[in-house]
Amino acid sequence: MSTLQITDLHVSVDTEDGPKQILKGVTLTIDDGETHAIMGPNGSGKSTLAYSIAGHPKYTVTGGSVTLDGEDVLAMSVDERARAGLFLAMQYPVEVPGVSVSNFLRTAKTAIDGEAPKLRHWVKDVNKALQDLNLDPSFGTRSVNEGFSGGEKKRHEIAQLELLDPKVAILDETDSGLDIDALKVVSAGVNRFRAKEGKGVLLITHYTRILRYITPDRVHVFVDGKIADQGGPELADALEAEGYDKYLTKV
């Protein structure tokens, strides 16, 4: 079972001119096994939503709640949230010089499972996860994200998703910057994850392109820190045809 429930979430960031409200009351529930897509124009607050759920220190929650299977996510530290079963594939994965991918993955897996993975299986699992995402096994010895191409960073995020196996994955524009082959490889990875029992996905995207490979249960249109519209997969097609203009003029 996994239910991510976001209720009336208000979030601000600190700016030179004082706090700036970015999320203005977001309510959204991802039920057991569901995939929701969030689409919206640049600057509408999509990454802010993703980072706030993951607990990035830059964002201050000023109201509302987030729960995972009834547990108060906002009361948890960043790493506790991950250990509780949340995973954020970042729009801009961070480079960590001098820390090898294999060391990083093993440390993360150990933290999340509460015990070190069995070495023999683990090496196999890592190699398979990398291969499935079309990443050469030699990535294991490279520093985390350092010198990776944009597409390699995104594929590395999905390799982590499969290895760490969370309850709910938030994918922040994992599709952007990918060529069509990489998009298929990444989508296949996300679909393998979704095929498992009860996994939730919050798929943040700009484009409908990825939704041809990953069919969402629900689509939300995000404008100016709020959900402006929602519907089934057909809403994505309408957005493809008409763009966000009709929502923007309303604001």
């Binding site: 991950a82 250990r83 010089p97 993360a108 985390v144």
Partner: protein, 388 residues
């Protein structure tokens, strides 16, 4: 021309063997302005150098001569690297030491095993002077590790003669006890087409100041000056580098990384590069990065690049001092890794690349363990306090 000369002397004050040319520094001199003179126990001034109280041991791989030499042989070695002292302490060391530890690697010798010299200080109350000469013959290959531990007040000059075409590494490890004071000047003369790697690693001691200088005895020589330091509460660790490009087509590459933790931890890095008129087609790069782990620390980082010729292949420098990168910590923690562990990973990562570049496998593990020890003193402790 006049101006160039002035700047040249600013980077590298004119040397002299005559003690009378070296007044006691006051602290206002450019080359002393960061150093806490009061804590030097007079090593920079008039401290009386007694008989050595520290014990020095070494291994002697076959074909290599390692010996304490005295008398005429020792006298002939003073300034053998071309060093003309530009500090009072170096001038005093060369004028006063009765003996010299000589490591002599003959031409064309290939010494597989590192020559490991350990200096174990016994008494921080007794000022001591030491002269070390590392002489590598043409086309030889060797690694020398100078390993300093224990209690000492040591003024030291290390001269390195890197023969033509040789490939040489010199690692100097300062892992002193808390009460040690160490002033040391390393001077290397890099021969034609030779490759010299110098590594300065400072962890322990109340005050450690190392000047690591390189000049070239012919064209085509290459010097890599690496360093790693970790300053704790109250410690002063100072590394000064000087690459004097006095020959054409020479290279220098300086990378120093440091971490600081605890009240009053102070590090200084000064990277001087001089590209003389004759030094056409040279390449130089210098980099210093500091990781500030707690409040109350100070890291000074000063790159100086002085260029007298326009015909340069490449010259650059970078200097950065910062706290933990919040984005790196967030990324690791967003994967379930607890804060203390995430900090550990980041610091290890910070030093990792550098430690791998040292190229002495027997040292790598020891250095990682030392970094780990240093971290457990503060970074991790802090986190548990915050978490509690």
């Amino acid at each position: 021309m006049l101006e160039t000369k002035k700047i040249e002397s600013h980077l590298n004050p004119a040397g002299s063997f005559d003690l009378a040319d070296h007044p006691v520094p006051t602290g206002r001199e450019e080359i002393w302005r960061f150093t806490p003179l009061k804590r030097l126990r007079g090593l920079h001034a008039e401290a009386e150098f007694g008989a050595p109280t520290s014990t020095t041991d070494w291994n002697t791989p076959s074909g290599v001569r390692v010996e304490v030499v005295e008398g005429d042989e020792a006298r002939a070695l003073r300034g053998v690297s071309g060093l003309v002292p530009n500090t009072r302490f170096a001038a005093r060391v060369l004028a006063e030491v009765p003996s010299t530890l000589l490591v002599d690697v003959p031409a064309e010798a290939e010494v597989a095993e590192p020559i490991h010299v350990t200096v174990q200080g016994q008494d921080a109350g007794a000022a001591e002077a030491a002269h070390v000469v590392l002489r590598f013959g043409a086309h030889s290959r060797a690694v020398v590790v100078l390993d300093h531990t224990g209690h000492a007040s040591l003024a030291q000059v290390v001269e390195v003669v890197v023969g033509d075409g040789s490939q040489v590494s010199v690692v100097s490890l300062q892992d002193w006890s808390d009460d040690a004071v160490h002033l040391t000047h390393h001077e290397a003369s890099v021969g034609r087409d030779a490759t010299y790697k110098h590594v300065g690693i400072s962890f322990g001691g109340d005050v450690v100041r190392m000047d690591s200088n390189v000049h070239y005895a012919g064209p085509g020589g290459s010097a890599e000056l690496l360093g790693l330091y970790f300053a704790d509460e109250g410690q002063h660790i100072e590394h000064r580098l000087f690459a004097d490009h006095n020959e054409p087509r020479t290279k220098s590459n300086v990378v120093y990384k440091g971490a600081l933790q605890g009240q009053g931890a102070h590090t200084v890095w000064v990277g001087n590069v001089l590209i003389r008129q004759v030094a056409e087609g040279i390449e130089t790069y210098e980099e210093n990065r500091n990781l500030v782990l707690t409040d109350g620390c100070q890291a000074d980082s000063v790159p100086n690049l002085e260029i007298e010729t326009g015909e340069i292949e490449g010259a650059g420098h970078a200097s950065a001092t910062g706290r933990f990168d919040d984005e790196q910590l967030f990324y690791l923690r967003a994967r379930g890794i607890a804060e203390a562990e995430a900090r550990r990973l980041v610091v290890h990562g910070f030093f990792n690349d550098l430690i791998r570049k040292i190229g002495v496998p027997s040292l790598e593990e020891k250095l990682m363990a030392t970094v780990e020890d240093e971290l457990s003193k503060n970074v991790l402790k802090d986190v548990t306090e915050v978490g509690a």
